[in-house]
Symmetry: C2
Subunit: 475 residues, 2 copies
């Protein structure tokens, strides 16, 4: 696709490059390449220029000039999007704006439990800085070693700690944002209460860079839990897993910090395709839950994990269980969960979904989706795993063993229609945590009301009247 | 003020009344009166018509007609605003839209921990419905017996449980909203994760009815804590109180569910002006903290409260303390906190502020504000109390004993300037939880940047182009 705008001309490239100075502008194909290819290689684009500004002021000047010249801008963090949100189209008429040089932790206030960071700071570095200050920054996702906080906020990232700490939206108190025309909005407040008009930061969180470019953020920190228990638990089915979730919430409250569901097939694939992984439990069980409890100190943990599992077994919700006896064992259990995505790859084509439904509808969703997909493609292997405590499941039908991969993947849209249709029917969402990006921008039109789309379009037109910010994504 | 629009004529009154049917339209002065007077009598207005629709459909038809005829509409819940947000002006050219007949709890989903309610449902009834389902709806504010959830959401209400559960914004998953032109947006999702475009509900939460009218909401429920401890604690000063807060967060984590600060003068006034209140502790201390711990069950509470207070005493952060031994004693301690507002009234004029600052700046704020106000008005008695764990303090300089009330209150703006200026200087807000309404609509212009005001105005123009929704409030 082209945005119908002229290719970026040499004079403009020069003017933009001048703003960021030497080293801040990339034009050589080898330098540009990592910024125009999605990491799974699902999306590839072209750009004549990657800009790497070093300050908010430079971002401001870039956007002002791009707005004036109607030059489309693709804001980019760690480029770990799963929906093509950070990749330019192939018209060679868009400039990539990488925040990666703005990567400093600027301030930590332990008593206020806040941290001021630049948008390009890698998530793992933020986690580490919090840890160094005896605090926790709880956002925890697979790509944390390379994704950047600006991207996390722009996509309202989720991950494995949402159950307790919420999505990225819930972890930010203030933002600095450069608007489409280059104006800078300083909303860097470190306040837990501020009712002085519209909460503007909410507009930019989850907007995937289409309404403004986040340059700095005030993040919320939490006390660091000093005691944890990781349990790997066999459950007889999805419904008992949900009952176990309810029981665990009742007993542990907020000390239940993770609750991840996975089917036997996922465990089998991880064991087969990832070296060194063993089965934590004896026997074969249809479903498993990885469960984590956290407490402020060891004395508050006590026998909570053991009591919970004993009660769950008595009620028939848990068939077998193991509690990690060491940090190393805990990591081994988490390793199984983290490798599920990768372990599917050698098994052939996989049609991915990132859906959410009310927690009370989760079992019905999986049952209906399994039946519908199996009826459409006999022999399909459904891998349903993820953050079931949030009502969020990654539902990935995998090609029948030995079937033709291309033929299977050709049915992507058909399968999407079925799975998304069932999620929608149950009051759910077709993108729980990955966003819309390029992948679901058209798809969402089938599920949102005209009123909602009209409201979204009017916000876009209000904040980015020339449509220069990440055009063709989200909306 | 008049909105420069024509008075509502008889024909229009008839057409609007026809929408809601008999009993849904109030025009008799005695019936209208409760809807045009603020409960503290700080604001009075006029209206020819109070509409009490019984359904979203009726709200939609009312707004469509008002938009077409450019008739201003004042949305109203329980009319408990502290900033005049729900009162019409005196031009007799605005219609009041009361949601009070839409007052049903429609659905509770215990496994998803959600509740679907109509906007006019009284907060206490929602709390009760949650309790009946063995769940907690944690919003807890002084006016809970009469305020309505639509108003709570429109003003992003705070209260005493924000520390643990967040503001009203954090307690809502989905909204149904009637837009200015009568279109209905159904965003009634019960999902904890949904990244499919802009999070539109955020626009209406805290907008004080200026961008749309909330008609229904999906609320978040929580497990009901089965064990609680209420402690009343004497501390040597504000800084030690903040250190105590930090210690308590570290030990109890989320089981610290309230942390309210009050000065000796507040306790004295409550004892003097409220019958039956005794001093919970011996001796006189400069500051007190009311602290609440909550746990899922008694076995999780254990000796946490005792351990915390022992450690705090050892560190010199707490001078004396008592833990309520019964529900009755706990209520008596909370009663002191709840009566502080009322107990100031017999003492004369009081210039009220609802400020927030980063928690780490709270002591500095109180010290600087005390010094500045005392320098301006010798003998002034500063009453600083409230949700200090959220960085939110109600800072109320009270007239010098025996001074002239009117002369003192005449200095309202001068005192505001001082106090708000100090809060702003410390990165704070001039309205932490009460909103802007009429009271602070002009005042805020001094503290917000031009960029922020321009963004707010453009949102208002986008969503309410004819300016019919609560004009003259907030923005």
């Amino acid at each position: 696709m082209s945005n119908g705008m002229a290719e970026v001309n040499a004079a403009l490239i020069q003017r933009l490059s001048d703003i960021v100075g030497p080293g801040g502008a990339l034009t050589e194909p080898a330098d540009v390449e990592p910024h125009v290819v999605e990491w799974r290689d699902l999306y590839r684009g072209r750009t004549p220029l990657v800009l790497r500004p070093g300050s908010t002021e430079e971002v401001s000047r870039i956007l002002a000039l791009c707005n004036e010249t109607r030059t489309p801008v693709v804001p980019q963090g760690g480029n770990t999007s799963l929906v093509g949100g950070s990749i330019p189209f192939d018209g060679n008429d868009e400039v990539v704006l990488s925040l990666s040089r703005m990567n400093r932790v600027l301030e930590i206030d332990p008593l206020n439990d806040t941290m001021l960071v630049e948008a390009g700071t890698v998530l793992a570095n933020i986690q580490q800085a919090a840890d160094d200050a005896d605090r926790l920054f709880p956002l925890r996702i697979g790509s944390e070693g390379s994704c950047q906080i600006g991207g996390n906020l722009s996509t309202n990232a989720g991950g494995v700690a949402v159950l307790r700490y919420g999505n990225a939206r819930d972890l930010v108190l203030g933002l600095e944002v450069v608007l489409a025309d280059g104006r800078v909005w300083n909303g860097l407040r470190g306040l837990r209460k501020d009712n002085t008009g519209y909460d503007l930061k909410q507009l930019f969180v989850g907007a995937e860079g289409t309404l403004g470019v986040i340059t700095r953020a005030v993040l919320k920190l939490y006390p660091k839990p000093k005691a944890q228990r990781t349990a790997f638990v066999a459950v007889p089915g999805v419904r008992p897993a949900l009952d176990l979730f309810s029981l665990a919430r009742g007993i542990a409250g907020d000390r239940l910090t993770a609750f991840e569901l996975m089917p036997r097939i996922a465990l089998d694939m991880v064991r087969k395709n990832v070296p060194g992984v063993t089965d934590p439990l004896q026997g074969r069980h249809p479903w498993y839950v990885l469960l984590e409890l956290s407490a402020a100190r060891e004395s508050d943990m006590g026998t909570m994990a053991e009591d919970l599992l004993a009660e769950a077994m008595e009620k028939g919700l848990v068939v077998d269980a193991t509690i990690a006896a060491s940090e190393r064992q805990s990591k081994a259990l988490w390793h199984i969960r983290e490798e599920i995505s990768g372990a599917q790859k050698p098994e052939g084509g996989s049609i991915k979904h990132d859906i959410s439904v009310p927690v009370s509808k989760m079992a019905e969703f999986i049952e209906r989706a399994d039946a519908a997909v199996a009826a459409l493609i006999p022999g399909v292997r459904s891998v349903a795993f993820g953050h079931v405590g949030d009502g969020n499941v990654h539902y990935n039908p995998l090609q029948p063993a030995g079937a033709d991969k291309a033929a299977f993947l050709a049915r992507w849209q058909e399968v999407n229609d079925l799975v998304h249709g069932i999620a929608h029917d149950l009051g759910g969402s077709i993108s729980a945590e990955h966003g819309l990006g390029r992948m679901k921008r058209e798809e969402i039109l089938r599920y949102k009301s005209d009123v909602e789309m009209a409201m979204m379009r009017s916000l876009k037109a209000t904040l980015d009247p020339n449509g220069i910010l990440n055009p063709g994504k989200t909306i």
